[in-house]
């Protein structure tokens, strides 16, 4: 009985402004992120002098740029808060397409990470093969035969480019 009364009870009035605040904060997030980058730039630029006598110092341009980024970021955040229409960014669109690959970000970034980690020991050709495998999986390749063929083809292409175009100093093969 009590439960049914609770179900009919309207939402607490206090929740509406809270929800509005969360929505406003979400809309302001890109502008606030720009402000944060501007603050980081300013902190870095502050270590360099803006003027050397009457001459421009190494920090002037960076300090001006940082202030500009902070100001533009704040303006953008304020503008987005005042406008109530939702910001549709990449996050909004995730899953919209039939072939959307949710894990493509970590997989593609992982491919570059693996390439960077193993290149010094395994050489360009094998590193490229590993990166190709990861990138193909991240791109949604589910057919094992196609995956193997893609990796083999790209390994051959890397070896071909390495032998034909790159200078002889390029580390193509494992350092044994």
């Amino acid at each position: 009985m009590n439960r049914s009364i609770d179900q009919k009870r309207p939402e607490p009035v206090l929740l509406a402004p809270q929800r509005g605040m969360v929505s406003a904060l979400r809309r302001a997030l890109p502008g606030l992120a720009l402000c944060a980058i501007g603050v980081a730039m300013f902190m870095l630029a502050h270590g360099q002098s803006a003027w050397l006598g009457t001459n421009v110092g190494p920090g002037l341009m960076a300090q001006l740029l940082a202030k500009g980024v902070i100001a533009l970021g704040a303006l953008w955040a304020g503008w987005r808060v005042l406008r109530s229409d939702p910001v549709c960014n990449v996050g909004c669109a995730v899953g919209d397409g039939a072939e959307a690959q949710r894990w493509s970000g970590p997989a593609l970034l992982g491919a570059v990470l693996v390439f960077a980690l193993v290149l010094p020991t395994l050489g360009l050709v094998i590193s490229a093969a590993l990166a190709a495998g990861l990138a193909a999986s991240g791109a949604g390749e589910r057919n094992p035969r196609a995956l193997v063929l893609t990796v083999a083809g790209l390994t051959a292409l890397t070896a071909g480019i390495g032998l034909a175009v790159l200078p002889p100093t390029a580390p193509l093969w494992p350092q044994i």
Binding site: Q48, G59, A62, L65, Q101, G105, A116, G138, A139, L154
Partner: protein, 495 residues
């Protein structure tokens, strides 16, 4: 240059040996330039040793052909894969890649080639007839004028970039800040390097652009499923009459803008491409709006960047000032062959100058004749399912990034910029302006410094210099116009 000099130049270029060098240079340049990340300057540097054994005229003609080939290859990757091979390709990709996604990659590549050809021919004649008087005019532009021009370029970059103007401006400033990382040219001290010795030479363009375009944009396309798995290509792989009609006026305007900006030392091909695209936004496009796969969005920047690239020969040959990395490599190549570019070059080497001008014309024609039939072949790359194209782009980008300087650090930088670009995209911010700011920012600082040095710290010179004050007036006027337009649109929408 009179008719006799033209005839002598063509007589030298149209020998079988020189023609062969031209064809070989154009082919090699295209093959290497098509690798994302390896732009014309890097291609020239890579293939420079091939010319050591040649006569000076043959070497320079081959280098010029390699350069057009690389430029053409760079445009192809911008259009097909949205991975610009060089900085001005960022502007071409805005509409060129959209055309490719609509199945019109062949026409886009062909329009790029034809616009470049037209601009190349016109600029070659312009250089040959007006090089000496033009060089005198360009030196009249003071550093303050260049500050104004670059500021106008940065503003144009924000206006033409996809997405709203305010965050685009902020990202341009962030990009300009990234461009400042490295050794301060004035003081010789490292700045913003976070103590990393690898950053003393600054952040490379290739890892930045590969991180943002080769990685972050790919992830976006995969995450959103926004790019079709297979692209159906148009049956006719070349431009239609409608495409040509839509492209010829933008090509003319792009050529005019590019050749005017190219002769100014320090003004880059990117600035020319940006200015040409910015100019096009003031005209009605004949096919579809700019930014949605308009022919004008390919024709104008391609004509402008080719015209600017060739016009940059004017300050190099007449004043000895290489206005771009490509011109610096060409200057180096000339010096290897004991030829000093600078005042007196044309008077002392009339045959070589004539041959170079003739080679600009012959080389551009050879390039288009060789490559136009292959526009459809390049476009057919897009028939490969996207999930199989992704590993190809990743692997070629990784090879490109690592090979430019044989540096593993550049791969780490690419990863860092990939993550940064991905975060920006998830926040709903378009990262393209960041790359444009990165290119133009350091030049802006350099000329601002010179301006304030000459004026003893007085910034009012920016308002008294005619070029600078005109640029500032254009920026202010355009800002007011944009705000007025947006307010009017918002008012109409709320009714």
């Amino acid at each position: 240059m009179d008719l006799a000099a033209w005839a002598a130049g063509f007589a030298l270029v149209l020998t079988p040996e020189t023609l062969l060098l031209c064809v070989l240079g154009a082919l090699l340049g295209t093959l290497v330039g098509v690798l994302p990340g390896i732009g014309p300057a890097a291609t020239l540097a890579l293939l420079l040793p091939l010319t050591f054994a040649l006569e000076p005229a043959g070497a320079i003609i081959m280098l010029a052909a390699i350069y057009y080939g690389a430029q053409y290859g760079g445009s192809t990757t911008s259009i097909l894969l949205n991975v610009p091979g060089e900085c001005s390709g960022v502007v071409t990709a805005m509409d060129g890649h959209k055309m490719a996604l609509q199945g019109r990659a062949g026409p886009a590549i062909a329009v790029a080639a034809l616009s470049s050809l037209f601009a190349g021919l016109v600029t070659a004649v312009l250089i040959a007839t007006l090089a000496v008087p033009l060089s005198g005019m360009t030196t009249a532009i003071a550093p303050a004028g260049l500050v104004g021009l670059i500021a106008l370029g940065l503003f144009a970059a924000a206006v033409i970039s996809p997405g709203p103007v305010l965050p685009a401006l902020a990202l341009i400033l962030i990009g300009a800040g990234l461009g400042l990382v490295g050794t301060d040219l004035a003081g010789g001290q490292p700045r913003f390097t976070l103590g990393l010795p690898e950053l003393r030479d600054g952040i490379g363009f290739v890892p930045l652009v590969m991180g943002i375009f080769g990685l972050a944009e790919l992830i976006r396309a995969l995450e959103t499923g926004g790019r079709p798995e297979r692209i159906r290509l148009a049956r006719w792989p070349w431009p239609t009459r409608a495409d040509l009609r839509a492209g010829w006026l933008p090509t003319l305007r792009g050529t005019a803008v590019g050749s005017a900006l190219g002769v100014i030392p320090g003004a880059s091909t990117l600035l020319a491409a940006l200015a040409a695209r910015g100019l096009e936004s003031g005209f009605a496009t004949k096919d579809r709006p700019l930014g949605s796969g308009a022919v004008a969005g390919v024709a104008a920047p391609e004509a402008a960047n080719n015209a600017a690239a060739q016009a940059a020969l004017v300050p190099l040959l007449t004043l000895g000032l290489p206005g771009s990395p490509v011109m610096a490599v060409l200057a180096g190549a000339l010096m290897i062959h004991a030829i000093m570019p600078g005042p007196g070059f044309i008077a002392q080497n009339p045959d070589l100058f004539g041959a170079l001008m003739a080679s600009l014309i012959v080389g551009n024609i050879i390039l288009v004749v060789l490559n136009l039939p292959f526009a459809g072949v390049w476009a057919s790359l897009l028939r490969i399912p996207f999930r199989r194209l992704v590993p190809l782009i990743i692997v070629i980008s990784l090879i490109g990034v690592h090979s430019v300087q044989n540096s593993l650090f550049d791969v780490w930088l690419m990863l860092g910029f990939g993550v940064f670009g991905w975060v920006l995209l998830r926040l709903g911010l378009e990262p393209t302006p960041l790359v444009l700011g990165f290119i133009l920012g350091p030049a802006f600082e350099e000329y601002l410094r010179r301006t304030l040095l000459f004026s003893r710290g007085d910034p009012s010179v920016l308002l008294t210099d005619p070029v600078s004050s005109t640029s500032i007036a254009l920026i202010v006027g355009a800002s007011i116009w944009i705000i007025w337009q947006r307010t009017k649109n918002a008012a109409l929408a709320s009714r």
